[in-house]
């Protein structure tokens, strides 16, 4: 008996004996979209998912990080080891992920602060790629509160624009609001296994 791999491949080739020649892929959909205020659109769409969004001038970012954490009552907060130093404001017990924070300890922190790679205005989505100021995937997953910094230049309007900026070989997480479920009567409720609170600091000059 042939091995499964060669048998499946030969079944595929047999099934395609009619040599189908499908129509070429036409990409006449909108790859880029122009909107007046991409940051405003992002803020509006993220808020639609019941996430909290703040528009913040660059100079005020550290102060606003401190205010958010204070308002949340978050005293022990995990961070990727490479977040910009000014983000680690005084008065918080910062837990940098270096060496890697053990899972059980991460489960006990009050929150996590990260940056992101790209944001998609049209869908209100933030994408993390484990790059600068983002850390390992579990860092932004296990804590119940995620405070995320998005810089203006990271914002793309459409899904195609955002995907073009991303490297698929990196581990990617697309986040659109806090965790949610539609499993009871197909009605969306926020807050299941992922962070139940997502707060976004949208930074522009």
């Amino acid at each position: 008996m042939a091995d499964a791999r060669s048998e499946i491949l030969s079944r595929v080739r047999g099934a395609l004996a009619d040599r189908p020649s499908p129509a070429p892929v036409v990409r006449d959909y909108e790859r880029t979209r122009v909107v007046d205020d991409p940051l405003g659109l992002l803020a509006e769409r993220v808020a639609d998912y019941q996430a909290v969004v703040h528009r913040v001038p660059t100079a005020e970012l550290p102060a606003r990080i401190g205010e958010c954490l204070l308002a949340r009552g978050a005293s022990t907060v995990a961070v990727p080891a490479d977040v910009p130093q000014p983000w680690r404001v005084p008065g918080v017990n910062w837990l940098p992920d270096e060496p890697p924070v053990p899972l059980t300890e991460l489960d006990g922190v009050d929150g996590v602060l990260t940056g992101c790679a790209v944001a998609i205005a049209e869908t209100g989505t933030i994408v993390l790629d484990a790059g600068a100021a983002q850390g390992r995937r579990m860092l932004s997953l296990v804590p119940d509160y995620h405070l995320c910094v998005v810089r203006a230049e990271q914002v793309a309007v459409s899904v195609p624009e955002a995907l073009a900026r991303l490297d698929p070989v990196r581990p990617l997480t697309f986040i659109s609001g806090p965790s949610a479920t539609s499993d009871i009567e197909l009605d969306r409720v926020e807050g299941v296994h992922g962070p139940r609170t997502l707060e976004v600091l949208l930074v522009s000059a």
Partner: protein
């Protein structure tokens, strides 16, 4: 050959199951409420995109390209996943897939595995196979958990517990969970699921997932979800086993720009689902350090061989067709006797089963009024009515030569095959005029009575067109 577990053993044919389901008024109420909600929301988010129809066409043609070159893309995927530290396995059928997964779980010494909702493993009956092999599967998607704890069967592709309302779900939780809530508020029920599963996520060694998409070029696997249970499973355990149908490919990363727009708006009616995870093989220091990809055939190559039916393999499992189907809304998903209910199930399940003697599977293409609503909402433009009628004609052919339909067709072929025989038959036909009242025939002798018992037959004209033509112009 073992039977394909995509349909449930011992399920009645669709008409019988539908008859029973229609008597369940609670079920109909639950379904009407849920599908009405989602239909309205979907229409809203789809209307936001001016280029929706162009996206649908692109989705259709990308998937058609995948199917037409499936061998090439599968080999490319295997190469790219392997290059990034993953291990690729091939499974001809459900049994083989289940054995591969069980062996891998055992090799890791796991007696419990956490699972992300996956149609492929529901199709193979993986949970039963794992249990039989001494490994306990824990469903972590809320709806799957409700089905698992309720010892129930799924009834929807996206929301397997759609047939249960909040009060029924609370009752299931109270029976099966130590600290279940007294309230039936969805928020409290979600909180109960969070507490119930938290410890399992943090301690699991092995996770099992499906895949929404796999990018052939880069070996990137995509899982689209809402609750974060997917992220937990895909990130925390050291070993990840992903089972995916061989048709779930897209050629390039850029192709996802189409599907990540089509899928969330079609399925949960959101601009984007809460979480989408993408990974390529193994990333040192981040996520599972062992990654296995099981490529599943289980009837897909047989489906691919049918030039009309193969379009069913474009399906991205959004379930929009279920939510608009008048038949599904009234019978619910379990009447279809398969993990794939609704319009897509009616064309996919019988093709995957691929057994002309299976009466239950053969009854599924009749679970439709051919209204076409499913085709209209399908994000990859699967012409479901076309495949339904095609499969019906195959059912009729396969029924053998002794059925009344086959006998009638054989007689018709003999009669149409010769002009003299045809004219003789026409003359014989006009004799039935003696049975007519007011131009209609209400009672034919057997076997014609089978027709006239439910509808009238128009009387045959006194003279045929051929006879008239010869008399006037000949």
């Amino acid at each position: 050959m073992a039977r394909n577990p995509v349909t449930w053993l011992g399920s009645p044919t669709f008409p019988k199951a539908a008859h029973a389901a229609l008597a369940d008024t609670q079920l109909r109420q639950n379904l009407r409420k849920a599908t009405t909600t989602i239909r309205g929301k979907r229409a809203g988010v789809v209307a936001e995109l001016d280029d929706w129809e162009r996206l649908r066409h692109a989705g259709e043609s990308i998937k058609d390209d995948v199917l037409a070159n499936l061998d090439t893309y599968l080999l490319r995927l295997e190469e790219s996943v392997t290059a990034r530290g993953g291990v690729v396995h091939w499974a001809r059928d459900a049994e083989e897939a289940n054995r591969i997964v069980l062996d891998l779980a055992r090799a890791e010494g796991a007696d419990e595995v956490v699972k992300v909702k996956s149609m492929a493993t529901a199709e193979t009956g993986l949970n039963e196979a794992l249990e039989a092999g001494g490994v306990r599967p824990v469903e972590t998607d809320l709806a799957e958990l409700i089905v698992q704890l309720g010892h129930d069967r799924p009834s929807h592709i996206l929301v397997p517990a759609i047939h249960r309302n909040r009060a029924e779900i609370r009752d299931v939780f109270r029976r099966e969970m130590a600290d279940a809530p007294a309230s039936d508020e969805p928020r409290d029920l979600a909180e109960a699921a969070r507490r119930h599963l938290r410890r399992k996520f943090l301690s699991a060694k092995v996770a099992i997932s499906g895949a929404n998409f796999a990018v052939a070029d880069t070996g990137s696997i995509v899982v689209v979800e809402s609750e974060g249970n997917g992220r937990m499973c895909l990130t925390l355990p050291d070993t990840l086993i992903t089972v995916m149908g061989i048709e779930k490919l897209v050629p390039t990363w850029a192709d996802l720009e189409v599907f990540l727009q089509l899928l969330p708006r079609s399925s949960t009616a959101e601009r984007m689902n809460p979480y989408t995870s993408v990974w390529s093989g193994v990333t040192p220091g981040d996520g599972p350090q062992k990654f296995h990809l099981v490529l599943l055939d289980n009837g897909r190559t047989a489906t691919l061989a049918d030039t009309v039916g193969r379009q069913a393999l474009r399906c991205i499992r959004c379930s929009a067709c279920l939510n608009v189907c008048p038949v599904y809304e009234r019978t619910g998903g379990q009447a279809y006797g398969s993990v794939y209910p609704g319009p897509i199930g009616a064309i996919l399940a019988p093709q995957l089963v691929n057994d002309p003697d299976d009466e239950q599977a053969a009854s599924l293409p009749y679970a439709s009024s051919l209204c076409g609503a499913c085709y209209e909402v399908c994000p990859v433009r699967i012409n479901i009515p076309e495949v339904l009628t095609h499969l019906r004609s195959e059912v009729v052919q396969a029924k053998g030569k002794r059925t009344p339909e086959a006998l009638a067709m054989a007689a018709a072929a003999w009669m149409f095959g010769d002009p003299k025989r045809y004219e003789a038959a026409q003359r014989a036909g006009s004799l039935t005029r003696f049975l007519a009242r007011d131009g209609k025939i209400s009672h034919l002798p057997w076997p014609g009575s089978k027709w006239t018992s439910s509808r009238d037959l128009p009387a045959v004209p006194k003279e045929s067109f051929r006879a008239w033509w010869r008399r006037n112009r000949g």
